[in-house]
Assembly symmetry: C2
Homo-oligomer: 351 residues x 2
């Protein structure tokens, strides 16, 4: 009932705690911060007074005593040249999904944007700042992935509790705990829906993925499904040095120049939006003359001309898989696959 | 040179530190965690051994001693019904922009997604978890904003250092430190570019903003510029209960039914994308018959049919303004405005 004697809006201060405990305010501060210069007896008296007054205890000190952080560390690898407007929105959505999955588990997320050319850091769990680590990036962040690969291989940790509490999106290293879209199934689904709609000369636009193994896997799924259906594969290789949209525009030009392609499975939505932009600009009938399927489920595909059929990874599942693997820990570095689905829009004829 | 006697990949453990300091491993743990049961002399011996071995000190304990967190707390208010795919991408971009501005200042961000119907918390600075607080939400998160409003009004803090270290995007309370797009200028810019392109009967589609004061300000800018040019304003009010896209579709229907409107300034891009979707579906010539300008600078507008002219707030500036206000602190609750610019695309005739 002690706290009812003051206004409910007036919060107790460390001076109130000091007065009740019979010590100075600086002793209260040091005692609650866990300073070694304060004796156990004094600290206990201060803690009792703080509890009596419902005084807000420093959360860091409290967590330090509890031995848990209630925090997930999330590192987002970015390219130094990216701006918030030019960056791939997929990574922003994935970051949001991870924060959401963490919130469901009552975890805050300690987010750090890092670049290949900057100082890299990932020892959040060992340093006691987080209970697990999620790293999100593109395989093109080569130096950063090497850093995290070495960090994970560096098993001379003080405690086995810090091993395995990490999960990675976009790593090119197969022996790390990766979470990745079911790219091969996506490639198969694209071919399946295009052939069911009557298309036969279906080209893959993208790369076969020396760096982007996500693209390689999509291409492999495409190849497997084409083979199963007795169809001849076609590769429209794109120039890796231009923007995704410009890669798509160039792929559209190549398809029109070839003259005998009636559908395109495009490695990612940003590239597919460039394809649609060029085809609509040239008056090509999509889906009548050419059908187009992308990959990613980007929001912009709902409003493109025409709206873009796409393979959509389950982003909510992706966030949950990353958080669960990082927090619950994993015994070994097996990867896990995020399910994908085909989203039918009007860039493909009705089946 | 001591550390060169072991492999560079083998990191020292707390047992190595204990051995060198001549104490038990548990003493090392407690000493480094700042436990009050360890004497100052023992702690100094352990710290010297840890430094000698380049042992990784618990970062929380180190920060506790330093008295700074190198962390910015970011609360994102969400609607419980939102999914990562359905949520307004603007907030995901703004979150990313805040993380980026924080990274520029060598700060990590402690991100917490919170809902109106969940437990709200914002005492990160007082609890020693962060040096400042940024809250991002929509004015429709009514209960959450009331919580943060009371939190800010609760000035009986222990230390004046914790006052003013917060900044807010989307608060409906004018006496909080808000950061907001220069909405009125945006409304004026839209009218200016539409009239320069020859449109005269320009309607505003949206609400006049009892809840969404960002919309009210955009409407006020529209009204002021229309008045300056001697043009009669028109309001196409939207039904607040449907999705933004459907609000836009309904606004397009209303404009076609009216028959004498030749341009629309639409309160936000998602609504404007719904307008374009309906108009292109009905074969209306945009920009020939009707010109359309949105507001937000959403990426999807680059690929819509036709690409959407829009008022784009400078998102990088928004993130920097929020971070600077929260970290540097502010003496009073003045708001600050994020600059906007007109992005010309083909939903408006050439001027």
């Amino acid at each position: 009932m002690g706290r009812m004697t003051q206004s409910p809006r007036k919060r107790p201060t460390s001076f109130d705690v000091a007065h009740l405990a019979g010590v100075s305010q600086s002793t209260v501060s040091r005692a609650l911060a866990g300073s070694p210069s304060i004796t156990e007896a004094t600290r206990n008296r201060v803690m009792a007074a703080a509890a009596e007054l419902d005084y807000l205890v420093d959360e860091r000190a409290a967590r330090l005593r509890r031995g848990t952080t209630s925090t997930l560390a999330v590192v987002v690898l970015r390219r130094p040249e990216d701006t918030v407007r030019s960056a791939n929105p997929f990574y922003q959505e994935l970051l949001y999904s991870v924060c959401e999955a963490a919130a469901t588990r009552q975890l805050d997320t300690l987010v750090s944007l890092q670049s290949d050319d900057g100082d890299l850091s990932g020892r959040y769990v060992e340093q006691g700042q987080a209970d697990g680590l999620v790293v999100i990036g593109s395989p093109t962040n080569v130096r950063a992935w090497e850093y995290f690969h070495e960090l994970e291989a560096d098993t001379s940790y003080d405690s086995p509790d810090t091993i395995g509490h990490a999960a990675y999106w976009g790593t090119p290293h197969e022996d790390m705990r990766w979470v990745r879209a079911d790219n091969a199934t996506g490639g198969r689904l694209a071919v399946r829906h295009l052939t069911d709609a009557g298309y036969r000369s279906i080209a893959y636009a993208g790369s076969d993925g020396n760096v982007q193994q996500q693209f390689r896997e999509r291409h492999e799924g495409y190849l497997a499904e084409m083979a199963d259906r007795g169809l001849a594969p076609r590769m429209i290789a794109v120039d890796q040095d231009s923007s995704r949209e410009d890669q798509g525009r160039a792929a559209a030009d190549a398809v029109l120049a070839a003259g005998d392609v009636d559908a395109m499975f495009v490695a990612c939505d940003r590239m597919a939006l460039g394809v649609l932009d060029r085809l609509s600009g040239l008056g090509t009938n999509v889906p009548g003359d050419i059908g187009v399927v992308g990959f990613d489920g980007m929001g912009a595909g709902r409003f493109s001309n025409p709206p873009l059929s796409t393979i959509e990874p389950d982003l909510a599942a992706a966030g949950k898989m990353l958080v669960d693997a990082a927090i619950d820990g994993v015994a070994q570095a097996d990867g896990v696959r995020v399910p994908v689905r085909y989203v039918a829009r009007s860039s493909v004829r009705s089946e």
